[in-house]
Structure formats: structure tokens, C-alpha cells
């Protein structure tokens, strides 16, 4: 120990002591299991069937690609993305424009507007499930009291409506993040650009369309990529809003998105090999779409400027 101490400078010892636990944790808990999962995806491991797992090459991937349920679930995940992102960006853009104005009490409004983002996703799903409840929900009470509906509605009964409300709740949970990103973008736009626009006689709408919007494209790009991943891998909100089956019963098939399907394959059906393959397909899709998004938004930003 004495010699080791003399061989290693005090700086090296510091680095070794602070980085070793970190590198060990990440290697053991992230990278090694990631490789293990991939290896498992090349086998027919299934804990329901008592047999040693056999290497089957890419069969799991082939099986998934030829499976109708896989495409149904994938389509549903993209549907969630395609409904959520525009909704979320519209809400975020509106709130960011509002918070970019000067008015007394702006700080308090900002603090409260961001709140939903900081709450647990499973609680958010529950909050909305209760709000939309067909018998005693507040939405029914409110709309009925003001004569907007003649009788109580079961908002979450129709499969199509369920998916729509999932997107609304996802929007409610996440819109604070794009709002913050867009607000930062708005605040970096110099005021004289708008003044010049005003002098040139551009209407408020034109100023937003031709000055604010193009300059915000990079901010939209960042927000879209982050929110794409969040919506594509939606899980918590669905679990308490519409997934059902928390006591071990069957999962509601109408809001089963990729992550829920993957969870079911691995931890309910115990088809580990197949589930492992699906997890890598989800990873590949997330990365691919993320890269395409970034490139398109940035290219467009470059063209417009």
C-alpha cells in the first residue's frame, strides 16, 4: 500500500476514488445489461416454458415484424405522437407567448403553469381519470351545471376517445417543458427586430409568422425531439388513466402502446426473448425518428434564414 501510494500521485488517487464507483455502477447496471438484453433477444427464452433457451438468431425480430399486434401497437404509438405533439406545441407556444409579455404577477403565473410537469405521471393519469369519470366527474358536473351537456357523459368509454384523452393528459403533463424552451427562445429575440417589423407596417400576425416563428425553429426542434421520446415511450399516464389491469387482470387493448406492450411481453407473459427484441426495435425507432426530426427542423431553419 505504501509503494502503491508512492507510485500514484495524489491527483491520480483522487480521480480513481471518485470515478471508480461511478464507472462500476454504470457498467454493471446499464451497459452490461444492455448487451445481455441484446443477447437474450437472439434466444427463445420464455419463463413459462421449462426448457433451456436456444439461440435462434434474428427469429424474434422476424416474428415481431410479421405480427399484426406489433404493427397495431406501433401504429397506436405513432398516433399518440401525432396527436400529442401538435397539441402540446400549440399549448406551449401560446403559454410561452403569454409569459413573454410584461405584466404584474407574471412570476406567479409562470410558477403555477409549470406545476403539472413536476407531479408524478401516475398521479396525473389518476387526476384526469377522476375528472373525466362518467358518474361523479367534475367535467360532467361543470358542463351540466352550465347547460353545455344534457346528461352525464362517459368520456373514457369509446376506444377512440380513450386514446385522445391519453394524448390530452400527456399534453397536460409535459407542455411545461416546451413552454420553458420556447420562452427562452422568445426572450433571446432582440426587440428591435419587432420594432423594425412594426415600422415596415407588418401586422401582429405577420410579425409572429415571419419573425418569431422562424427564429424559434431551433427551440421547436429541441422541444420536439424531447417530447417525441416522451410521447413515443408513454407509460405512466396510460397506466392509471386507461390501461386497467393493475390487479393483474388483462390490459385494455385499446390504449396499449409500445412500452405497455413491451412491459406485458416481458413481465406478464414472460416471453423474455421476444420482449428483448421489441425493446431494441423501440430503441432503434426512437433514435431514427429523433435524428430525422432534428435534421429536418434544422434544415428548414437554415433555409428560412
Amino acid at each position: 500500500m505504501k509503494t502503491a501510494n508512492r507510485l500514484l500521485s495524489s491527483d491520480s488517487r483522487y480521480v480513481i476514488v471518485v470515478l471508480t464507483p461511478i464507472v462500476l455502477l454504470i457498467a454493471l447496471f446499464i451497459y452490461y445489461p444492455a448487451v445481455e438484453t441484446f443477447n437474450t433477444s437472439l434466444t427463445n427464452r420464455n419463463l413459462r416454458i421449462r426448457r433451456p433457451p436456444k439461440a435462434i438468431g434474428l427469429d424474434n425480430y422476424v416474428k415481431l415484424v410479421n405480427d399484426d399486434e406489433f404493427w397495431e401497437v406501433t401504429g397506436r404509438s405513432f398516433k399518440v405522437v401525432l396527436i400529442t405533439l401538435p397539441l402540446e406545441m400549440a399549448v406551449a407556444f401560446g403559454v410561452a407567448m403569454l409569459l413573454n409579455q410584461r405584466f404584474p404577477g407574471r412570476g406567479a403565473v409562470r410558477t403555477l403553469a409549470i406545476l403539472p410537469w413536476m407531479l408524478p405521471g401516475v398521479v396525473n393519469g389518476f387526476l384526469w381519470g377522476w375528472l373525466l369519470n362518467g358518474e361523479y366527474g367534475a367535467l360532467n358536473g361543470f358542463l351540466y351545471q352550465f347547460g353545455l351537456i344534457g346528461e352525464y357523459q362517459y368520456w373514457l368509454r369509446e376506444p377512440d376517445h380513450q386514446l385522445f384523452w391519453v394524448c390530452v393528459v400527456q399534453t397536460w403533463t409535459r407542455y411545461a417543458f416546451p413552454t420553458i424552451i420556447l420562452l427562452a427562445g422568445l426572450q433571446s429575440i432582440p426587440d428591435d427586430l419587432f420594432d423594425a417589423g412594426k415600422v415596415d407596417g407588418a401586422s401582429a400576425w405577420h410579425r409572429v409568422r415571419y419573425i418569431t416563428f422562424p427564429l424559434l425553429l431551433p427551440s421547436f426542434g429541441i422541444a420536439l425531439v424531447v417530447e417525441f421520446i416522451a410521447a413515443f415511450q408513454i407509460f405512466d399516464v396510460v397506466w392509471t388513466l386507461t390501461a386497467g389491469g393493475s390487479a393483474g387482470g388483462a390490459m385494455n387493448p385499446f390504449t396499449k402502446t409500445l412500452m405497455l406492450y413491451n412491459y406485458e411481453l416481458v413481465f406478464r407473459d414472460l416471453r423474455i426473448g421476444l420482449g428483448a427484441a421489441l425493446s431494441y426495435i423501440i430503441l432503434a425507432m426512437s433514435l431514427a425518428v429523433g435524428v430525422i426530426f432534428v435534421m429536418r427542423v434544422y434544415n428548414q431553419g437554415v433555409q428560412e434564414q
Binding site: 495524489s10 491520480s12 483522487y14 471518485v18 470515478l19 461511478i22 464507472v23 455502477l25 454504470i26 447496471f29 446499464i30 452490461y32 445489461p33 444492455a34 445481455e36 437474450t40 403569454l98 405584466f103 403565473v109 403553469a113 406545476l115 403539472p116 410537469w117 413536476m118 407531479l119 408524478p120 405521471g121 401516475v122 398521479v123 389518476f126 387526476l127 384526469w128 377522476w130 375528472l131 361523479y136 367534475a138 360532467n140 358536473g141 351545471q145 352525464y152 397536460w172 417543458f177 420553458i180 424552451i181 429541441i222 421520446i229 405512466d236 397506466w239 392509471t240 393493475s246 412500452m259 412491459y263 413481465f267 423474455i272 420482449g275 428483448a276 425493446s279 423501440i282 430503441l283 426512437s286
Partner: protein, 294 residues
């Protein structure tokens, strides 16, 4: 155009406050509704049509119920809700505080090394840690479950803390590296010249000056751990380790109709994040946006 400037300004403000009201209703109505439900009597809450919007006799009965009594689970073999709720509260607290403390400690030492020192493999190790940030960790979790089973760390608080610390590391290290970099290098160099070693500098110079950063890392780590659902869903089995987010979903299966009790459980689950968001939002926003915007 013949409005005076003052009237114009008043009109602008009026318009802005109307929009603010809409935003506030959108953001807060679901929260308000669950809070009202949790302090309502069932008779009022189940009125059809409902039109009170604030209970005429507010009561904390539901909170009392979920912590002290409550029927057993459907088939009566699981523990009573009273125990579930207090165990969940304890587990949530232990997991989130312990994970936040450990990750803050590890990230501070590492952040200083990455920000202010040169050593072999520095960039490679930094990349290895940061690569986790954009990659979905779901692929790791599947095999990790079986690794944790072999290590007998499933359904244990220690196992959950280890997983959360690992998942939080990239963001925490990234944040601390940035914060330490913002401390003027001259102060540290002066200490070096005076013969202080790295531990001494870390303890007496970096720690006090990076305190806002430390607080931000701790709060972000605590909030994300408290709110997490997927990790305990996979790695918890019983009330030995189930946090409140899990307990809440068990209640949903159990009480088909007791919405006032479930609302109380939801309020308990979201109260700490809610208070943190109100009082420490500046820190949280800074930390939570940092990971995404590099």
C-alpha cells in the same frame, strides 16, 4: 386609435389577465378537483349533478381512513391499506432522499475531476457516462431485472437506491461539471499553490461555492426519484419496498368506488413534488432543462 395610451395599456392588461385565467384553469383544475374531493364527504361528492365546487363541511376523514383503517385487499391475503400507505410513504422518502444524497455526493467529486483536472481516459469516461442521457434505458432494465434477482436485490430498498443513483448519474455529473466550471479557476489555483490537495480544495473551496448547484442536483434527483413509477413497478414486489406511486395504483384496483379516499392518497403522493415545485422551482427548472438542452 383614439384611445389614450393609458386606456390602451389597461386594455392590454385586461386581455392578458383573461388569458392567464384560462391558463390557470387548464393547469390547476385537475389538482384543485382532487384536493376538493379528498376533503369532501361522500354524500356531497357523489351528488348528481355536482355543483358545490367547495365542500360545505370540509373534513380530513379520508386522510384518517387511508392511514388508520381500510379494508383488506380483495382476497384478504395482502396487508391492510393502512400499512400499505405508511409503508409507501416511508419507502418513497427513504428511496428518494438516499438516492439524491448518494448521487449528489458522487457527482460532486466527479464533477470537480471533469471540470478542473486532466487525466488519461477523461473524455472516454465522460462520454461513457453521458451516452446514457439520450439513450432510452429500457433495454437495460429487462436484463437488469434478472441480474438483480441473482444478486437478491429485487424488492429491496438498497436495490432501488442503487438503480436510481445509476440512472441519475449522467444528469447529476453533467450538472456538477458545469457548476464547478463556473467557479473561477483562480481561487482553486491559488489553493493549489498553497499546497492543498484535491480533497481539501473540493471540501473547502468547491463545496461552499457550488452550493446552489449542489442543491439543484439534490432536488432534481429527489423529485425524479419520488415521481418514478416504472422502476419500482419492475423491481418492487411487496410493501418492503413499494413507494407511494405504486401504492396509489394498488388502491385503484382496490377501491372501485371510494373516490374520496383515493383522492386523499393521490394528494399525499403528490404533495412533496407539489411543494418542491412551488418553493424550489428555479433550481428544478434549471436542472431538468439542462439534461435536454446541451
Amino acid at each position: 386609435m383614439n384611445l389614450s395610451l393609458r386606456a390602451q395599456e389597461r386594455l392590454r392588461l385586461g386581455f392578458i389577465y383573461v388569458l392567464c385565467a384560462i391558463v390557470m384553469i387548464w393547469a390547476l383544475a385537475p389538482i384543485y378537483w382532487v384536493a376538493v374531493s379528498s376533503i369532501s364527504t361522500r354524500r356531497e361528492l357523489y351528488a348528481q349533478p355536482y355543483k358545490i365546487w367547495f365542500p360545505s363541511e370540509p373534513t380530513f376523514e379520508s386522510y384518517h381512513t387511508i392511514f388508520t383503517q381500510g379494508a383488506k385487499f380483495r382476497d384478504g391475503t395482502f396487508s391492510p391499506t393502512a400499512h400499505l400507505m405508511s409503508a409507501g410513504l416511508r419507502n418513497s422518502l427513504v428511496i428518494s432522499v438516499a438516492s439524491a444524497a448518494v448521487v449528489t455526493l458522487l457527482a460532486t467529486g466527479a464533477g470537480y475531476a471533469f471540470a478542473r483536472m486532466e487525466f488519461r481516459g477523461k473524455n472516454a469516461i465522460f462520454l461513457l457516462i453521458m451516452l446514457m442521457l439520450p439513450l432510452p434505458i429500457w433495454v437495460s432494465l429487462i436484463a437488469l431485472f434478472f441480474i438483480m434477482s441473482r444478486l437478491e436485490l429485487v424488492d429491496s430498498l438498497l436495490g432501488l437506491v442503487l438503480i436510481f443513483v445509476t440512472l441519475l448519474l449522467p444528469l447529476a455529473v453533467w450538472m456538477m461539471t458545469t457548476f464547478v466550471r463556473d467557479i473561477p479557476a483562480e481561487i482553486q489555483d491559488a489553493a493549489r499553490v498553497d499546497g492543498a490537495d484535491r480533497w481539501r480544495i473540493l471540501y473547502s473551496i468547491v463545496l461552499p461555492l457550488a452550493r446552489p448547484g449542489l442543491v439543484a442536483v439534490f432536488l432534481v434527483a429527489m423529485l425524479t426519484t419520488w415521481n418514478n413509477f416504472l422502476i419500482p413497478l419492475i423491481f418492487s414486489r411487496t410493501d418492503d419496498s413499494q413507494p407511494l406511486t405504486i401504492v396509489l395504483t394498488l388502491f385503484i384496483g382496490q377501491y372501485e368506488v371510494a373516490w374520496e379516499d383515493m383522492s386523499a392518497a393521490a394528494v399525499v403522493t403528490m404533495l412533496p413534488p407539489f411543494l418542491m415545485a412551488l418553493f424550489f422551482q428555479r433550481y428544478l427548472v434549471r436542472g431538468l432543462t439542462m439534461g435536454a438542452v446541451k
